[in-house]
């Protein structure tokens, strides 16, 4: 049963008033709100067994370790991995990409080879690859977009060759909303070069759609907890067992070792090899609780609600004069995000005026400068939707935009 009003009861922030008015939160693409179940799970760790893991033989530490490892199983199951050793906990999606770029890239990428990304990526899936390519004197190529913001897949065969070592692409665009046909794309890439690895940025996919790593065929998948009801500071790098197994450590120190001597060290096995130091234990338990919450709702229901609300929003916003909406036309072809511009109004000004009614949208380039350059716009506004958003909130957004138009545009 998917009941938005009931879901809203679970989110403490939604039930508070700010300056006497309710919050209209339309920026879940940046970070989702947190239900009390997740907040309690984090608190419970600190209140009941808040000690370090893997270290003590005393029972509190054993309990903490058990819960931490149970969280890994829960997360693995959620993304369709049958082997929880494939789940590496990181701080966020960005750190997960950096781990892959740094560890895999340093050890495997060679001068004269190339990597491929796309113009619709979040900076997190561009900059780490730029760095490693610069270091290794490798080439970084980009898949362009066509028309309404779909990837230009006709040119794949020109971009990918026998020297393409990895393709880093997003599952769902955090600006255009485009849901890329990643399974087909991965198939196509692998048929051109079976050795090319694929890193899928699923930061906007895992919170919103059923993602199944076994089915997709990617080699790495990254996502962040804070966009899927979980706390900040916890993210995931999922990698195929064999691929992770062959990668050197990313950071070194405690937890990631098996034996240390003064002159050499034997590393721990995966995933611990990639989790140096005391991890974000509370955040990990919060993530597991967030997964429980989403699983309880059912990812199909989550997705259906999103389609319904985005469809409504596309309609309502589409009625506003002088608005340009970016990305695919149909709600079914997009995630929970709508980027737009209103003629004559700078996104910062629109966002600021909406804020006077507690309507939170994002303005700027949303960590996707290359995409904005490609669209030939300096910035955009972005409203995004999640499980707790209602049609009424869409109406408030539409009214707010019209109010901003009145304030900011002149007749002369």
């Amino acid at each position: 049963m998917f009941d938005v009003q009931k879901i809203r009861q679970d989110f403490p922030i939604i039930n508070k008033k700010i300056n006497g008015k309710p919050l209209v939160y339309l920026d879940s693409t940046a970070s989702s709100l947190k239900p009390h179940q997740v907040i309690s799970a984090e608190n419970k760790y600190y209140e009941d067994y808040g000690v370090n893991i893997f270290r003590g033989v005393y029972s509190l530490s054993e309990t903490a370790t058990e819960k931490y490892e149970e969280a890994r199983k829960i997360v693995a199951g959620f993304i369709g991995s049958s082997d929880e050793r494939e789940v590496v906990f990181t701080r966020n999606a960005t750190e997960a990409v950096n781990l892959a770029a740094s560890s895999w890239g340093r050890s495997s990428l060679n001068q004269g080879e190339n990597l491929v990304s796309t113009v619709m990526e979040h900076h997190a899936n561009i900059v780490p690859w730029q760095e490693i390519c610069r270091e290794k004197k490798a080439e970084l190529r980009f898949i362009d977009i066509v028309n309404l913001g779909q990837l230009d897949l006709d040119n794949l065969a020109q971009l990918i060759d026998q020297k393409t070592r990895l393709v880093a692409l997003t599952y769902v665009s955090n600006v255009l909303g485009t849901i890329n046909p990643v399974k087909n794309i991965i198939n196509n890439i692998k048929s051109i070069n079976s050795r090319t690895l694929i890193l899928l940025d699923a930061a906007q996919a895992v919170p919103h759609l059923k993602v199944n790593v076994a089915d997709l065929g990617a080699d790495f998948i990254v996502f962040s907890g804070h966009k899927m009801l979980a706390p900040t500071g916890i993210g995931v790098l999922w990698g195929k067992y064999d691929v992770l197994q062959n990668m050197p450590p990313y950071q070194t120190g405690g937890e990631m070792i098996r034996e240390v001597y003064l002159d050499h060290t034997i590393y721990n096995e995966i995933p611990y090899k990639f989790e140096a130091g005391t991890p974000n234990i509370a955040g990990t338990l919060g993530l597991a609780e967030a997964v429980r919450y989403l699983t309880g709702l059912g990812m199909n229901n989550v997705r259906n609600h999103e389609i319904e609300i985005v469809d409504y929003a596309l309609n309502q916003l589409g009625k506003i004069k002088e608005i340009t909406i970016y990305g695919p036309i149909k709600a079914r072809d997009r995630g929970g995000v709508i980027a737009f511009n209103v003629k004559g109004i700078h996104p910062h000004d629109l966002a600021q005026i909406l804020d006077t009614d507690n309507i939170c949208i994002r303005s700027g380039h949303h960590c996707a400068m290359p995409l904005h350059q490609r669209l030939n716009i300096p910035a955009s506004c972005r409203a995004s939707f999640y499980i707790y958003n209602t049609r009424d909130e869409v109406d408030k957004l539409a009214e707010g935009i019209q109010k901003a138009q009145k304030i900011l545009t002149t007749k002369d």
Partner: protein, 124 residues
């Protein structure tokens, strides 16, 4: 709403010194992009090259950055380069006459930074 009072909106809709000088001593083509605001300036100096005789700005920006550019270009016209280099954020806030959150302060300060950077490259 305080931020968008008439004074600011008038400067936004009808900015002073907007355009491109035809024969500038300083032509900062690159501009200074920040989060979707992009402002560039052309400056004509006095014959002794010590003062700003004329300054124009162009680009796109939010109401705050455009109003700030409009007010600031008025303010620096006729002023010594050295004294312009000394201008601080307080002056911009004073000219605008509004209180700004840290994020919007960046918008307001963009024109000052742009002017100072282009003057600096001239001094070098």
């Amino acid at each position: 709403m305080d931020l968008y009072r008439d004074f600011i909106l008038t400067h936004y809709h009808h900015p002073h010194n907007f355009g491109h000088l035809s024969d500038p001593d300083i032509d900062d083509k690159k501009g200074n992009p920040f989060c979707g605001d992009q402002i560039s300036v052309t400056i004509k100096l006095t014959s002794n090259k010590k003062k700003v005789e004329k300054i124009n700005f162009e680009g796109t920006g939010c109401a705050i950055s455009i109003a700030s550019a409009s007010l600031l270009t008025d303010y620096v016209t006729g002023k010594d380069i050295i004294s312009i280099m000394d201008l601080k954020k307080e002056k911009v806030i004073e000219l605008l006459g509004i209180t700004l959150s840290p994020t919007r302060l960046k918008c307001a300060l963009l024109p000052l930074e742009t002017i100072q950077v282009s003057l600096l490259s001239h001094l070098r």
